[in-house]
């Protein structure tokens, strides 16, 4: 599904974040990317989203070389990225409107998709995510959790096969965060999504990542991958294994710092 072939990335200011970095992700896998601030987690996600280009090497996603944002990749950010002037429904429909704007050109929108009946595609997601009653509200009127659910609805309405999340629940309170983490797990299973979540929270990485990529002080040269096969299984949060994984991840992270 995803292949990093000797990817290097350097910021204009000269800071090198990745150097000859190789990494593979299979379809349907659930990854968490963990690491301290400034380790390149978000850069990696932006590279994957096609919002930044490697300075050297190639990134392949879904059998094609990535050179621009890919229509079937969904991105969810900590800051939600909602348009403040659009209602919940308008925000959730935005991606479909963008697709309708370009038509099925294979570049901005999938070549095999004609956008019709936007309500029919968006409303079930609003219903599912408990947003139907808020459909005519503006982001400023919503709580953090409701805003993030709107961003999730917007992404899922586009029917993605790869979901990228950048610290999506970091600014939410604990109960909201846990309910959205559970929602992510359910959606992943249901939709057979490949998910990659960037987080600085060890607990979140242990909960959501069946594989955890630990990044250290840049430049990152080779991936340090941690297997966590039980992540996402029913009430994993309350199991002993979960606590063990958390403490092993913590030790690994301390080792990289």
């Amino acid at each position: 599904m995803i292949e990093f072939r000797s990817v290097s990335f350097k910021y204009e200011q000269g800071q090198e974040v990745f150097a000859g970095f190789d990494w593979q992700v299979e379809a349907g896998e659930a990854w968490a990317i963990l690491g301290p601030s400034g380790c390149g987690k978000t850069t990696l996600l932006y590279l994957l989203a096609g919002l930044r280009s490697p300075t050297d090497g190639e990134i392949w996603v879904g059998g094609e070389r990535l050179i621009r944002p890919r229509p079937r990749t969904g991105l969810i950010l900590q800051t939600y990225g909602l348009l403040p002037w659009a209602t919940v429904h308008e925000n959730a429909s935005l991606g479909l409107h963008v697709r309708g704007f370009y038509g099925p050109d294979g570049k901005h929108a999938p070549a095999d998709e004609v956008v019709e009946h936007i309500h029919e595609r968006v409303d079930p997601w609003l219903e599912r995510l408990g947003l139907q009653a808020l459909a005519e509200q503006y982001p400023a009127q919503l709580s953090g959790g409701q805003r993030q659910r709107t961003a999730i609805a917007r992404t899922l309405a586009l029917n993605p096969d790869l979901l990228l999340m950048d610290e999506p629940f970091a600014s939410l309170d604990a109960p909201t965060r846990e309910s959205l983490q559970d929602l992510t797990l359910r959606l992943r299973t249901e939709r057979r999504l490949t998910t990659i979540i960037v987080t600085h929270a060890i607990e979140e990485a242990a909960l959501l990542g069946r594989k955890v990529l630990v990044l250290g002080t840049p430049p990152n040269r080779s991936p340090q991958v941690f297997d966590n096969p039980q992540a996402g299984e029913g009430n994993f949060r309350e199991q002993k294994t979960y606590l063990e994984v958390v403490s092993r991840l913590r030790r690994t992270l301390e080792g990289t710092a």
Binding site: L51, P69, L75, L77, L83, W85, A86, F101, A140, A151
Partner: protein, 246 residues
């Protein structure tokens, strides 16, 4: 602000005006009722024609400045490089009081509506340009990135992000500059025209010494400014309702 409050303020101004008129007791300051009477008589005739001429000039300059300043502001707001290049020029030109250019513009463009429209355009253009540019440049990069991740290229970003984001800036710019625009219109209408409220006020006040008519013209000019101001206010609530939610 409620309608009642505005009405109360209007009555209070009228009362103070009447008191001043009683104290001054001179033809140069007739009372509000005399002026209102004159206004009611004139607005359906001569004054109405002058009012429409001025209204047309302001509305035309507004339309022209929106049509040119908004795209320019959006382009500058999106391109840091172009903005770096042009912002010193804007920085120098923006604070120049455009009213001093009235004689120059009149000389260059002659008589008729065009020079008046151009003068007001110059004021509104810079105001809208600067506000729209700053609004576009101030959009959070994460917002742009997340919309780009939905497949939006430059055109869709323009349509779905930059354009709607600039609406409040356009309306704010218009509202801030409507007072200046009407004031400058008055000055511009003193020259090379026989049509417009500026001409009417000057003619009645300084040539014919018909003070009630002169004040009727002043009232018409105030109403012109107020009318535009209230229209912008109403438009703002209608087309940018998200700014008024709590």
């Amino acid at each position: 602000m409620r309608r009642g409050q505005i009405l109360f303020a209007a009555v209070a101004i009228g009362v103070v005006w009447q008191l001043l008129a009683w104290i001054v007791r001179a033809p140069i300051l007739p009372g509000p009722l005399t002026v209102l009477q004159s206004f009611a008589l004139e607005i359906g005739g001569e004054l109405g024609g002058h009012f429409l001429a001025s209204l047309w000039r302001v509305v035309a300059s507004m339309a022209l400045s929106i049509a040119l300043a908004v795209p320019a502001g959006l382009v500058l707001g999106q391109s840091a490089r172009l903005n770096r290049l042009l912002s010193p020029v804007i920085y120098l030109l923006y604070p120049v009081p455009k009213v001093v250019l009235v004689p120059v513009v009149l000389l260059l463009l002659g008589i008729g509506d065009l020079p008046k429209i151009v003068i007001i355009f110059l004021i509104l253009f810079f105001q809208i340009l600067v506000l729209v540019r700053d609004q576009a440049a101030g959009l959070r990069p994460e917002l742009i990135q997340s919309v780009r991740s939905l497949g939006a290229g430059r055109r869709a970003l323009f349509r779905f992000v930059y354009l709607p984001a600039s609406l409040p800036a356009i309306l704010t710019a218009l509202r801030q500059s409507v007072g200046t625009a009407v004031a400058v219109l008055y000055v511009a209408e003193l020259f090379a025209t026989r049509l417009g409220l500026g001409y009417y006020i000057f003619l009645q006040g300084s040539t014919l010494f018909n003070y009630p008519k002169m004040y009727a013209g002043v009232l018409a000019m105030s109403l012109l400014g107020l009318g535009i101001y209230f229209t912008i206010d109403g438009l703002e609530r209608r087309i940018t309702p998200w700014q008024f939610v709590s």
